[in-house]
């Protein structure tokens, strides 16, 4: 079943065309990895899906509803889509528990006790139960990023967007974050992730998409993209990484 449809999306910053008619569909439970050189537009695409940027043309449909319609309620759309950024995510003035329970309590109207129970359950699932009362400064980078992911899924979104969630991390911390993403895939979460970790993309993706200069040049099964890329630019990009 199709969950998300990106239909001919364009995005410009001034004269600079960052996305040039991107088409992409994502099915429920599918994991899509966006790969491509720095500046190719991966983050911009994710930010468009989350309505943090307005598209200049084209449409994005979630559950067959056009979320780029100017009359659409952006807050309502964001309730159904979680996003985790590269870094600088958590609210530094709140404890881990408050970070996680903020949106369930204030946006989704869940009671404090129930929200905290759910948060503790999630923390336990990802091995962070002892950190509930800590402030973000007191956590390692990998722990912070895992909390950020937990915070994004605490509202039970339909779709989770992950933008290079490991690139600010020490290589030794990368694995614990990737472990969380693997676990989420097993639980059936639909995800789009922009990543520079090719090995991980190959391992976890159902579909890999190669972006170059704002154009989605090639999409396919990871074995095909990494094993036998069709487009010469994909070949060139993969040989460099």
């Amino acid at each position: 079943m199709t969950l998300l449809t990106i239909d001919g999306v364009w995005k410009r910053y001034g004269d600079h065309e960052v996305l040039k008619g991107v088409d992409l569909t994502v099915d429920t439970h599918e994991v899509v990895c966006l790969i491509g050189a720095s500046g190719s537009g991966k983050s911009t695409l994710l930010r468009c899906v989350n309505l943090l940027e307005t598209v200049d043309d084209g449409a994005i449909l979630l559950d067959d509803v056009d979320i780029t319609d100017v009359r659409a309620d952006a807050d309502d759309v964001r309730k159904r889509i979680g996003i985790v950024f590269q870094a600088y995510n958590l609210f530094p003035h709140m404890t881990v528990l408050d970070n996680i329970t903020l949106a369930p309590r204030k946006v989704h109207g869940v009671g404090r006790v129930q929200a905290e129970d759910q948060a503790r359950e999630l923390l336990a699932r990802f091995g962070l139960e002892s950190k509930a009362r800590d402030y973000p400064d007191q956590l390692s980078g990998g722990q912070q990023q895992r909390v950020a992911i937990i915070r994004a899924i605490a509202t039970q979104p339909r779709l989770l967007l992950l933008d290079e969630v490991t690139s600010a991390l020490d290589p030794t911390l990368v694995n614990e974050v990737l472990g969380v993403i693997r676990e989420l895939k097993q639980s059936g979460m639909t995800m789009i992730l922009a990543t520079h970790e090719m090995g991980f993309a190959r391992d976890i993706a159902d579909t890999v998409c190669f972006l170059a200069d704002g154009v989605l040049l090639e999409r396919g099964h990871p074995d095909q993209i990494f094993g036998a890329p069709k487009h010469p630019r994909t070949r060139e990009f993969l040989s460099r990484t």
Binding site: N50, L52, A74, D75, D76, R78, K79, I81, G82, I83, F85, Y88, N89, L90, F91, P92, H93, L102, A103, K106, V107, H108, D134, Y135, D137, Q138, R151, A152, T155
Partner: protein, 282 residues
């Protein structure tokens, strides 16, 4: 392998040296303070006019005579301050938030807030106190307060709110945009984002400059004296004129300082506690 840590001889030696260094810096600080203070006092006492200055500014008798009245007057200053400050904080934050509204519907409010801060920061406080104190009653409107203390306080509030609003605004602007993006992406509305994420962080950041404005407001509460109420400065004026002696002014100044210093220490304490809670960083 040992599991319990036994302090090595090297570490003991290091700590001994550190303690010795600490003692040395304390004694150096003490000696230099004594020398500097001694020089200042000596310079004062040795200056030819000192006996006169002591008589007119630091007369013990004048202090004792004027203190009860000035202290009573000072209580009025404290009351003015205690009432004005919370109002200023609330209004200032409100004005800062208005200036942050982006929707075109709010353009008039936003423009009004901008004009208010621009204009009122430019008017001398004493002028605003006069305007509120003498101008408003002159309008002869029904139901408008006529008590000079109330009117003077309103003048102070009008002036200080414009400063405090700018302090809040710069604090809000200093919060990294990704914090806003992170909050919005969780589905929080603009209002919720400001309330739970941006403003709490901004307020922590602007505590020191706010304290600066508080201290300034404390002494400017004396400007209400120009409208006639018997607060500390007015009492000091009366006594000074009575005795041909300036000591009452010094007395009033000491009272103001006595209030500002503990407040500064208290805010430092709050800031330090917040830093400790958050693990020391940033």
């Amino acid at each position: 392998m040992t599991t319990t840590w036994v302090k090595s001889d090297r570490q003991k030696e290091r700590e001994k040296l550190l303690r010795a260094q600490g003692r040395r810096s304390v004694s150096v600080a003490t000696i230099s303070t004594v020398v500097v203070a001694g020089l200042v006092v000596f310079g004062l006492l040795a200056s030819p006019g000192w006996p006169r200055v002591r008589e007119t500014f630091f007369s013990w008798d004048a202090l004792v005579t004027s203190l009860p009245d000035i202290l009573r007057g000072f209580l009025l200053n404290v009351v003015i301050f205690l009432i004005a400050e919370p109002v200023i904080l609330l209004l200032g934050l409100g004005v800062a938030l208005l200036r942050g509204l982006r929707s075109p519907v709010f353009f008039p409010l936003r423009a009004l807030a901008a004009i208010y801060t621009d204009v009122f920061r430019g008017i001398p406080v004493v002028l605003l106190v006069y305007l509120a104190g003498f101008g408003v009653p002159a309008l002869q409107l029904q139901g408008v307060p006529s008590d000079p203390v109330v009117l003077g306080t309103i003048g102070l509030i009008l002036s200080y709110t414009s400063f405090v609003a700018e302090v809040f605004r710069s604090g809000i602007d200093s919060i990294h945009p990704s914090q806003k993006a992170a909050a919005r992406s969780l589905g929080l509305s603009h209002g919720q984002t400001m309330r739970y994420v941006v403003v709490p962080q901004a307020v922590r950041r602007v505590v020191p400059p706010l304290l600066n404005d508080f201290a300034s407001l404390q002494k400017d509460s004396a400007l209400v004296a120009f409208l006639g109420p018997l607060e500390a400065l007015r009492q000091a004026q009366i006594h000074a004129a009575d005795m041909f002696n300036y000591t009452p002014y010094v007395t009033a100044a000491l009272l103001f300082v006595a209030l500002t210093v503990p407040m500064a220490r208290f805010t430092d304490h709050l800031a330090a506690r917040a830093a400790r809670q958050r693990g020391g960083a940033s």
